[in-house]
Symmetry: C2
Subunit: 732 residues, 2 copies
């Protein structure tokens, strides 16, 4: 029987009455605040089906969710959009902890941006419980809040050795979370990692799933990861806990993007074979391949030693790092044992260490490997050097032209899954383009009062607003909720003056590019916490981009704490870039990205780049970047400061940091070619991880030497210092 229902009430009655083989069709349209519970007993031949009248025609909005309980249930064709789940998950394969789903399936379903507004309030989008469930041909995109996108839970016996299948899904872009909890897929938890899950994850696409260091965190045994495609995704597939997993025939294409990784091996009896990796740039834990050291007699939540791993027949090409004994330290002292590394084909992307060994490798049998290029640790001399020309085969992957070495590397018959084979064909997969200047539209504004405010209000995302030379006075704070470029025209930069505490307030959706103009703070009122640009106090879910190019900012002196850019709590910028700009007579901080003070491992900016700019008479630091806590699930922040001139920076009595640049917990800092005079010192504090700080070719005059501190690491600060001068003398 097939019934069409038009309201939650009608649906409840229909599902109550449904018999095996019945189909309930939800009428096309918006279902707002719909607490959809699919509960019943179908049979293998006659499942109980709940489907959209037209696939994609039913949109669940507001505070909606889907729960399944019973057996042989099928749900299909729904879209979750414009809202978020009020529960702990959007789709749960259980009604509550007593009533799980078995032999059930969710397919052809879309979850798009259905994220809790608070980016640090956690939920799962999909939580799979029970046994023999299938989640396939779904499209999950744009999770902005904390929590695993899809979790397989093993928290009761009914959910173990489950035989779930997760296949043909499109895991679309997930932005950098700036915190732990950004995994796309997790199977199990450390607490239940002694149990087998026996879940199959195959033929899925992971496209720009950049949430954190783990794309997939396998925390149970007996899982299979096969035929998946990882596209331009930061992080890797980690066999974090549990033994006897199989990782085969997956394809990782990094396209040279930062932090793209492959597979990280921990625990016993893991098989990693016939995978293909290309263009990966991750190192350390995020290497193309990381075989870790373990903790002797490890407790389940630490690192079980690698034993009996079979790593064979993989191609790892144009990549940055393959590591053995990764993570070796006093605690992680157990090197891999009884392990085979054979018939792998490898080539490096750069001149840094490519094949590296951080511990004894005598427990690894090397055989039939070929490394085509890159620096190899002497301990790995057993890995044979080779030379071969690679050519792209019809499947789009690289193979040796010379059949003589064809025995090494991934098999010829790999068939990367196509984007059209995953998800649904009625929902578009997102493109990857810059938000700026994307509309092709531009408007020109004459000097005057509040014309700029009005222009931004009516602008469309990607528009360019051109300012004619002259004075542009802004008497209302500009609320920016789209990507906008504001650019001066003519040889003389136009001047923007503003009479509120802020010129621009960044809201949800706001991206800002400022080019060739002057911002003058002399009309701003005396209000504590003034900032030319700041974030709204409303939630901001999407990561922002902020760029200054050929911008002059001056006369921010009406009080003692006037900043240029301030990001508040729970806001995150993917990138802040300043180049060819000039800042003068500013009482506060130029870039304040230091609002996550709770030491939960959260922070405000991924990349901060400041280049070819000048800073003169600045009260606070040019950047104050804070990432506290001991969590290691994130890549950033990364700060680059190159070829700038700092003169009288950071010396205001109100500058609590007492620094010209203040970095706390930054993972990568490059300070290069800057000229610093009559300023407070640079201060760089390292917390967790393996921070990479280099201070190279800078000149310091009348300025204290940089201050480095290690908060956790025992030993001298881990900093590369070279080519610097102090008052004209080489600085040691």
């Amino acid at each position: 029987e097939q019934v069409l229902v038009r309201s939650p009430g009608e649906y409840d009655a229909a599902i109550e009455a449904a018999q095996p083989g019945d189909t309930i069709l939800l009428a096309d349209g918006e279902w707002r605040d719909f607490d959809l519970v699919v509960r019943g007993e179908g049979t293998g031949r006659a499942p109980l089906t709940v489907a959209a009248q037209t696939p994609g025609g039913v949109v669940l909005t507001g505070q909606s969710s889907l729960r399944l309980g019973g057996s042989h249930l099928v749900v299909s064709g729904l879209v979750f959009r414009n809202g978020y789940s009020p529960r702990g998950d959007v789709i749960a394969f259980r009604v509550d902890s007593e009533e799980l789903a078995f032999d059930s399936r969710v397919t052809q379903t879309v979850i798009d941006g259905f994220s809790k507004p608070d980016r640090y309030e956690s939920d799962y989008w999909v939580a799979i419980y029970g046994k023999r469930n299938r989640f396939d041909h779904n499209h999950l995109e744009g999770k902005t809040n904390k929590g695993v996108t899809l979790a397989v839970r093993l928290d009761s016996e009914d959910s173990r050795e489950n035989g779930h299948r997760i296949d043909h899904n499109y895991f679309g872009p997930r932005q950098s979370l700036g915190s732990n909890g950004g995994e796309t897929l997790r199977i199990g938890t450390s607490h239940y990692s002694m149990f087998d899950s026996k879940t199959v994850v195959e033929n899925n696409v992971f496209d720009r799933t950049d949430g954190e260091v783990e794309i997939i965190s396998s925390k149970s045994g007996g899982n299979t990861f096969r035929g998946n495609l990882f596209l331009r995704s930061r992080g890797n597939l980690t066999l974090r806990h549990g033994d006897g997993n199989l990782v085969e025939r997956n394809i990782f294409l990094g396209h040279g993007k930062d932090y793209t990784g492959g597979i990280r091996v921990i625990n016993r009896d893991q098989t990693v074979r016939d995978n293909y990796m290309e263009g990966l740039r991750g190192t350390g834990f995020s290497s193309a391949l990381a075989v870790m050291n373990g903790v002797p007699n490890s407790p389940p939540n630490r690192y079980v030693e690698v034993e009996n791993a079979q790593i064979t027949g993989n191609s790892i090409l144009d990549s940055a790092r393959i590591g053995f004994g990764v993570g070796a330290d006093e605690e992680r002292s157990a090197a891999p044992s009884k392990t085979v590394f054979a018939r792998n084909l490898m080539s490096a992307s750069g001149s840094d260490a490519f094949l590296s060994a951080a511990s004894d490798v005598s427990g690894i049998a090397f055989d039939g490997n070929v490394v085509l290029s890159g620096t190899v640790d002497p301990a790995l001399a057993k890995i044979a050097r080779g030379a071969a020309e690679l050519e792209r085969a019809k499947n789009g992957l690289l193979y040796p032209r010379d059949p003589a070495i064809d025995a090494a590397g991934a098999p010829r018959d790999l068939a990367p899954i196509g984007l059209e084979e995953v998800g649904v064909d009625w929902y578009p997969k997102p493109k990857d383009t810059s938000p700026f200047e994307s509309s092709g539209r531009r408007v020109t504004i004459a000097p005057g009062v509040d014309a700029l405010v009005a222009a931004v209000e009516v602008a469309q995302p990607g528009d360019v607003i051109e300012l004619a030379p002259g004075r542009h006075v802004v008497e209302r704070t500009i609320a920016l909720d789209k990507a906008i470029t504001i650019r001066g025209t003519g040889p003389d930069k136009p001047v923007i003056l503003f009479s509120r505490p802020s010129l621009i307030e960044l809201r949800e959706g706001g991206d800002l590019q400022l080019i060739h103009l002057v911002i003058d703070g002399s009309l701003a009122p005396d209000s504590v916490g003034n900032s030319v640009i700041r974030t709204t106090i409303y939630p901001v879910q999407s990561n922002m981009q902020i760029e200054f190019e050929r911008v002059e900012v001056r006369n921010l002196t009406v009080n003692k704490s006037f900043n240029v850019l301030t990001l508040g709590k729970s806001t995150f910028a993917d990138r802040i870039a300043i180049r060819d700009s000039a800042f003068s007579d500013i009482s506060g901080t130029i870039i304040s990205v230091a609002s996550e003070t709770e030491d939960y491992g959260q922070y405000n900016v991924e990349y901060l780049d400041v280049a070819d700019s000048s800073f003169e008479n600045i009260g606070g630091p040019i950047a104050d970047v804070y990432r506290g806590g001991r969590d290691e699930s994130t890549f950033g922040p990364a700060v680059t400061l190159s070829n700038n001139t700092l003169r009288t920076v950071g010396r205001a009595a109100t500058n609590g940091s007492e620094a010209a640049l203040h970095l706390h917990g930054v993972q990568i800092a490059r300070i290069e070619g800057n000229t610093v005079s009559q300023s407070a010192p640079l201060k760089i504090v390292h917390t967790v991880g393996t921070p990479a700080t280099s201070v190279v070719d800078n000149s310091f005059d009348n300025t204290p030497v940089p201050v480095f501190e290690e908060l956790i690491y025992q030993g001298a600060p881990r900093v590369e210092m070279s080519g610097n001068s102090l008052d004209g003398e080489p600085l040691q």
Copy 2:
């Protein structure tokens, strides 16, 4: 001519065409996002009028504002509600800095809660520029954001010696801002304080205007404050800058409320006569009368010495403090001179110092004063003691029954202005009642899943939700946007369990009272930053009240930072009260009110009271209260901790404060009669002001002695310690 207009477009055309004597009527109804500019030239006899069709019938909502420019303009009958100004002010007597208003009037207008959502984004509700303007019979209530409610600006010559009249207005409740910038009325700024304003402020009512320490800040010369009524208002009328002001026939009725003050005298040639004060409880700067010491040759922004003050014929009854030489310190070393203090009638409310002198009083001539009760500093022996029975006269004020001493004190003909004489008669003045149990409604909830969530959703403000004994499971976070009491019934407390990181999220309008129940965290997920109760990430404009009575909270141990109550940035509780409650096995902080970390003088709670409760096995402190910075414009926070038992509190490695109680910048702390064992120490850090900390009659066992620190004050920590014991021995 009279024209009725129905849209902004019609209005613009009408005002453009208007002639002296014309009236433009705005049609009754909602005018959303209306940028109302009243611009034109009337004459003394024929003003140009813009009025509501019906007084109160025109409601400006959304992002609306009113600006006047020209002369002889009248605006009347408008209501601003449900929105906020996008500019720096809601009503401005100027269009821009070039175009001011003269001889103009705004009357019969209401601004109710028309506050910017960000409580720390500043604006004025009314800014008066120009000359000879009148602001009268208006009703201003509920400003929640920073910034003076009504400011008279003197920032150009056209705005000085202005002769403005501000009369018959109702300044309704303004909640505690928890920061500087909460003044109700300010005339001038220190920058222009050498100029006379000559503004008259008379016959206004200030009802619960509790924003900060200054209700009125007079920062210019030649003003008159006459016949105003200050009702239950914290703070005082301060003659902060400028000379030659007159303060007469005002009435201050404190009703015994904390921090209620009268008049603070600074500068030269001030006259304070014939005022009546009763029931005031302020001390220090907020005394019923504070005559301050000055700075010799003071710069304009510091404290000009008191010279030639005439303070005569005032009644100051049932009040806490009258101070001479207030604020005397190394900098403020100049005592009042050439000053007369005569014919004042005084009586004390308590046994503390009533008449106090902090510096030499030889420059003050005392004559004909009578003090009926209270402690008098020996330096003030010239003030005659008297005895008199007081009786309430027909005007409601107290006068001596004995005509013999009738020469002292306020005149008999004072006539307190009635509430019905100020503001408008078509808009109600708000009552002063508890938000809890105000509706008289109650519903009873049986044990089960999510019944409580549903009950709160449909409840009305002031409802009581009664929980029957048993287990109440909550699977969705309760979003609380009204005042609700949740109370257990029956002898056995009902148990609430919750499966989200928080049980309750406090939103705008949320007040919470929990009585006779158990909250158990054992179902909560492991999510960093769990808190049983926390504030939303959306803006919260209204101050909250949170009360626990006979509540048990237990098993918050799923991770290392599980709090009971956490107030986030830009949220403020008027009061958090805990009594007869028990807390056990909690990994985090009981009350975390420490989110304003920017050291701008902001904080999260006014009163925190914890009494007759027990705390056992608590990882963090029982309270973490933070108020940073050096601002002195606020009264709080005030913390009372009495008769509690603490056992194993604050000793978790993750407790950054390393304290069992952590108070930073608290103004008043009373720690009395507590039993503390096997715990981390109490830590109290003093910043600005004159903090009053007492630690009395506590017993400490196996616990370090309390730690006190002064951040700014030079000298031993200012703490009263008495009656305490350590491991059974008296603690010195």
